[in-house]
Amino acid sequence: MSHTIPIHPDSDFKDRSRAILNNPSHRKNFRGAMDFLQEKRRGQFPDQDELAGLRELGATIRRYSLARLPQLLEQLEKNLTANGIQVHWAETADEANAIALNIARKHNARTIAKGKSMVSEEIEFNHAMAAAGIDAFETDMGEYIVQIAGEKPSHIIMPAIHKTKQEIAALFEEKIPGVAYTEDVDALIRIGRQVLRRKFAEADIGLSGVNFAVAETGTLCLVENEGNGRMCTTVPKVHIAITGIEKVVEKLEHVPPLYSLLTRSATGQSITTYFNMISHPRQPGEKDGPEEVHLILLDNGRTQAFADEQLRATLQCIRCGACMNHCPVYARIGGHAYGTTYPGPIGAIVSPHMLGLDATYPLAFASTLCGACVEVCPVKIPITDILIRLRNEAQARPGSAEASLRGSGAGRKALVSTIWKAWSQIYSRLGIYRLTSWFMSRGRDLSPSDQGAWTRCRTPLIPAPKRLRDLLKAKK
């Protein structure tokens, strides 16, 4: 069963990060995994010109799709409905869960086989189903491991990336009846396969995410390697797909470039094992596939991002995870420290719309702004610009023009605001600036030795004995 990781204020994020930084094994796992994924991605893009062209194409497709989002959602709904797929709309996580629960109740469902879906994590789907007495079980190997461990994914593509094979061996031995300890990865996968095959065969409903929803054809596209996604969307009598409203593209031909960018950026694969395109429920005469297919379109804060031209770029994301794989902060603290469903740079910019900036603003500060995420993002999201914007929103005066998001101003501190206001005054008036810098250089001995977080691991900041202006004057 899933469990809720509450969203913590600033101190908890720092506490979690500190705890992980003090765990050498965890740090080693993440560093190794990130190096591996970076290397794999690099191997997929030997031709920098091709990469630049494909990224530009991918970014243009995503911008184009978002610019026409309301029309495309209506077109998608019309064509899906004509194809026999039932479309539902949910403004919140609770509404999405309620829709799924209604479908489950209509079919007297006891079990739901889940393919990998980050949106289902976002809405705490497993938890909501468990509360209604329905067993929603994960079938992606990584998600399965994380679920039986009672944890949350630490990476959006590789959920169990924080675990070693020894930890997984011990977990299987403890949680799966009749399983002996083995560190052999093939044997561990065989165990997972065996356990889950039986469960696929018996599941009442299959749940999946959606990678791309094609408006012109009414098609849901799913990307995967394991075959569990195909099991969930083919074996049970009912298939429920759930997706954020931003995943729609207009034309079928928009899919190949995005799919190529996704797999190459995510895991360094030229293509995944399966690309599963679903356009209808089971048709008369067909012998398998679900008799009902439902799509739940979820807002959950996405319309807030959409309303702002700069923040709208957040919705370009195709969930490849390359930004986290290349982030020096994520590589050190891992996914759990963030405390949100989506960790890393993309998590820092998308979570404020889902959970409010008041609950998530510390994440915007958990970045060196080095720009590695921007360099690798396959759809060219200006992540660092958005992080700076969110930092400003967090410090904005509530009710002011700068405070446009839910929770804006939550990080505002009177002392910090006063200091910045004074700083701005000093630097915009020449006379005051000269006077202040003169006093600063003369009064340098009065600099405090304890400068808060800065001096916790650095020497204190002390003004230079002579101003640059004085040094230049002496040189003449």
Partner: protein
């Protein structure tokens, strides 16, 4: 107001500037390899073999014997075939005595346990393929249902080598997918796999453990 109306209303209150429609076809035509059938076969084979797929060259008339010999080597007890397919009929006509041919005749609900627990392997055709990524394209239908390429441990696929496209975009354009997509269209590029345990690649996650591709070249017969 309904959730639908609320969401659409919020989206519509924002004015957006729509960029020009992305010219995907132009990008692909300027980046596509112009290769002949032989080169495409080589590219496809290389990509498939790099991910644990068995690839065999054969012909439209010789593939049944090849398949039976591979099945014997793998000690297969049975093979799931479609209904009323030319290739299924061809195998049935041979009446193999060591390989039981099982037709996918009934809806899954009536024989689910048998499919999951007793079927060793399956044989399907493929619609076409993609050279660039080593990908088979399947459009399952009533005769060859979706689970045939998923549940059995070994999946044999027949491919007509003249139907290999350069890339995904050219496949969907040449075959006019946008007006004809079936219930389920599939791209398959290897046996099922996972690297979810410590980034170690393992084959046979939930779908087939083995993928065997029979490349059918012309010799006067048909698939």
């Amino acid at each position: 107001m309904s959730a639908r109306e609320n969401i659409l209303r919020r989206l519509r209150t924002t004015s957006t500037t729509v960029p020009a429609l992305p010219d995907v076809a132009n990008w692909y035509s300027s980046h596509r390899r112009n290769e002949d059938v032989t080169q495409r076969v080589t590219r496809l084979r290389t990509a498939l073999e790099a991910v644990h797929t068995e690839v065999h060259d054969t012909t439209f008339t010789k593939w049944p014997d090849l398949l039976l010999s591979i099945a014997a080597k793998k000690d297969l007890r049975n093979l799931l075939i479609g209904t009323e397919t030319p290739h299924g009929s061809k195998l049935e006509a041979l009446q193999p005595n060591k390989l039981k041919l099982v037709r996918y005749e009934h809806a899954i609900e009536s024989w689910r346990d048998q499919l999951f627990d007793e079927i060793d392997a399956s044989l399907t055709s493929s619609r076409s393929a993609i050279a660039e990524t080593g990908t088979l394209i399947l459009w399952p239908d009533a005769a060859e249902p979706r689970l045939m390429s998923l549940v059995p441990h070994i999946h044999f696929v027949l491919l007509d080598v003249t139907k290999i496209h350069a890339d995904f975009h050219s496949a969907m354009s040449a075959e006019n997918w946008k007006d004809t997509l079936p219930t389920n269209a599939l791209l398959i590029s290897s046996p099922s796999k996972t690297a979810d345990i410590q980034q170690t690649l393992a084959y046979g996650a939930h779908g087939p453990r083995e993928l065997v591709v029979l490349l059918c070249h012309a010799d006067g017969g048909n698939v």
